[in-house]
């Protein structure tokens, strides 16, 4: 087909199909009750605004899709937290036996609630939240081969995204801070290193499984120490790794059994990590319409205290209330306890709809008894309570 005619056809199909533009703006207020560890971080309130839009088209009987999701945050104190990202800029074509997805996208793998161990495609947007659930858009070519025996996803990722870290004035950061201007890579190609991944996923009755292998730039950097202008700083070092992972969930009545495990080489010593547990739901608590979920998980990382996360040998316990009301009220509370040194991390998240276009979320995170050897130690004065009010246009 001649290019012009092709473009004309494409334009026509765009016109003839579903368009949709939506957007939201959120006001986030965080209150830190304690004095910060360093003077530049020493404020109690932080105000921030977040904007996200989504535009998408579906055509060809919903077998083709184009979507773009820009994201912007402006933060009162931390210039590193004021940032823009394209969360999604993607074209998708679905056929009976395959789906081709091209562009900047977000992909989630895993089943565990307290951390996302095997989830590796996207880089964590750490300035957003320490829970690691916010991700940067990842450029990729992803071909899914759909078979009776399961789906095989092939990924080629030609551009690496660096993890974001809070700046000097940011709270909820390492001590000393991470200077992302000093990032270093194992590969000479740096962020242009082409990463690959393959994942098999399927369900067999009440079992859902995913088996994956990733080769490329580790999303999780090593944080190494150096001195800049008389100031000690950390800098990220991104290794080339091989990681094989498994995620499984067995849905047995009201009980969900979950397991994630990985084997990683190329980043220091080869190691294994594991997270497993269950979520049991009591439906209609005490004759009401409230559902109560009880969660228990165990997290293990063979690197022990060398692990750059707080999940080296920890027990997590949680409760989830779903009120099943018109406002979709929910409450999630969780406690993570380090088995070795008794460090504790308490988390509470609540949300409800205020009106058709207004949504309110509350979040509180508190650290207790953090050991100097634990990554949580540098956050020991950064307990906070957050209120996020979102309006949808």
């Amino acid at each position: 087909m001649k290019p012009l005619l092709f473009i004309a056809c494409l334009l026509f199909s765009f016109m003839a199909s579903a368009h949709e533009l939506t957007a939201s703006v959120g006001s986030e207020t965080r209150y830190f009750p304690q004095e910060a560890l360093t003077p530049p971080q020493n404020y109690h309130f932080n105000q921030s605004f977040v904007f996200q839009a989504e535009y998408f088209h579906e055509w060809d009987d919903d077998r083709q899709l184009f979507a773009v999701t820009p994201f912007f945050r402006v933060d009162q104190h931390d210039p590193e937290r004021t940032h823009f990202d394209i969360r999604e800029l993607t074209w998708l074509k679905a056929s009976n036996r395959w789906e081709l997805r091209l562009g900047i996208r977000k992909v989630f793998w895993g089943v565990i609630e307290f951390q996302h161990l095997v989830d590796i495609i996207n880089q964590t947007d750490l300035v957003e939240n320490i829970d690691g659930e916010d991700k940067l858009g990842q450029p990729m070519l992803n071909l899914a081969l759909i078979n009776d025996w399961g789906t095989l996803d092939l990924f080629v990722m030609p551009w690496f995204r660096e993890r974001t870290f809070p700046g000097t004035k940011g709270r909820l950061r390492t001590q000393p801070r991470v200077n992302t201007d000093l990032s270093r890579y194992e590969s000479g190609a740096k962020e242009k290193h082409v990463d690959f991944a393959v994942r098999y996923s399927h369900f067999f009755g009440d079992w859902d499984i995913g088996l994956a292998h990733f080769y490329g730039t580790s999303r999780e950097p090593q944080l190494l120490t150096t001195v800049r202008e008389g100031e000690g700083v950390l800098f990220p070092f991104y290794d080339i790794i091989n990681q094989t992972s498994l995620d499984v969930q067995a849905t047995k009545g009201n009980m969900l059994w979950k397991l994630e495990a990985l084997h990683r080489s190329g980043q220091g010593e080869t190691y294994n990590a594991l997270a497993g547990g269950f979520e049991y739901t009591i439906v209609g608590l005490l004759g009401s319409v409230i559902d109560l979920g009880l969660l228990a998980e165990y997290h293990y990382d063979e690197r022990g205290k060398e692990a750059p996360n707080i999940f080296d040998d920890d027990i997590a316990l949680g409760t989830r209330f779903a009120f099943n009301d018109a406002s979709s009220s929910e409450l999630l509370a969780g406690l993570l306890v380090d088995k070795d040194n008794g460090g504790k991390f308490f988390n509470v998240e609540a949300s409800r709809r205020l009106a058709a276009r207004w949504f309110l979320e509350m979040e509180g995170r508190f650290l207790f008894d953090q050991d100097p050897g634990d990554p949580g130690f540098s956050l020991r004065r950064d307990d906070y309570v957050e209120l996020l009010l979102t309006y949808y246009f």
Partner: protein
């Protein structure tokens, strides 16, 4: 099982009208089989739904969603539901493979995280998105889901109906029994009374404005569920029914769930 019933039962029961020696149980079952026979063969359908939740004080909140359904022979249907409103749950999608006597297979897609979660479905009696409808009220009504008993014939709002009582076979159902008024002319329910596990009247569903599609299948535009124990009610307005769509199993798999908008 069902195929066998189709062959044997018409031989025993030449018509759903009461015949000599037919027990109320046999007649109730015959009516249910005839209702299912008349509503078989639609293959797939699309529809939009507006759901209006009202509390005791009369305050309303609204949800809009669209549902694709695939008819599955000898098992429950498959459906894919995508929410459009309220805006905070826009794009949330729900994939369900229903089964008559076993727990359904259900997956939830959360668009903010792009996460698919397999969810527990043993309890079909929980409320569907905060409404007065339970999951089991909205899922497909296979004959095997209940045992039946014909109670009487009755005129309801000028329409001739069979009144039958049915008893859920599913062990975790939220009901002991339901009383259903079935329109004799179209074999579709006009009213359902739901009795809770303590056998107290819990809620009443009124189904109105039936229209016929592709010269065969009757679908209602409006369903009102009133909960007597809470004073709340939920109104479903169904719109834009479409049949004969190009849909198959592939449109109800986990890959499609992940690209639902």
């Amino acid at each position: 099982m069902l195929k066998w019933l189709y062959i044997i039962l018409p031989l025993i029961l030449l018509s759903p009208e009461i015949t000599a020696g037919e027990t109320p149980e046999e007649k109730g079952l015959a009516i249910a089989i005839e209702a299912e026979r008349r509503d078989t063969g639609w293959k797939n359908q699309l529809s939009d739904m507006e759901m209006i939740l009202r509390n005791k004080q009369g305050e309303e909140s609204k949800r809009t969603l669209n549902i694709k359904t695939l008819e599955v022979e000898n098992d429950g249907d498959k459906s894919l539901t995508v929410f459009d409103n309220p805006r905070d749950i826009k794009g949330t999608a729900f994939l369900s493979y229903t089964h008559a006597l076993e727990p359904d297979d259900q997956w939830l897609y959360l668009p903010a995280l792009k996460r698919v979660k397999r969810i527990s479905s043993t309890n079909k009696s929980g409320p569907f998105v905060g409404s007065e409808f339970a999951y089991e009220d909205l899922s497909s009504q296979e004959v095997e889901k209940y045992s039946y008993k014909w109670l009487r014939d009755e005129t309801l709002n000028g329409k001739e109906t069979f009144v039958i009582e049915r008893y859920p076979a599913y062990e975790y159902s939220g009901y002991t029994r339901q009383i259903v008024w079935i329109d004799k002319s179209i074999y579709q329910p006009l009213k359902v009374e739901y009795y809770d596990r303590k056998n107290a009247l819990l809620k009443t569903l009124t189904i109105s404005n039936y229209r016929q599609y592709i010269d065969k299948f009757w679908r209602s535009d409006s369903m009102l569920m009133v909960n007597y124990q809470t004073g709340k009610e939920t109104l479903l307005n169904w719109k834009n029914y479409q049949f004969n769509n190009d849909l198959d199993e592939r449109d109800f798999d986990l890959n499609t769930l992940k690209r639902s908008r």
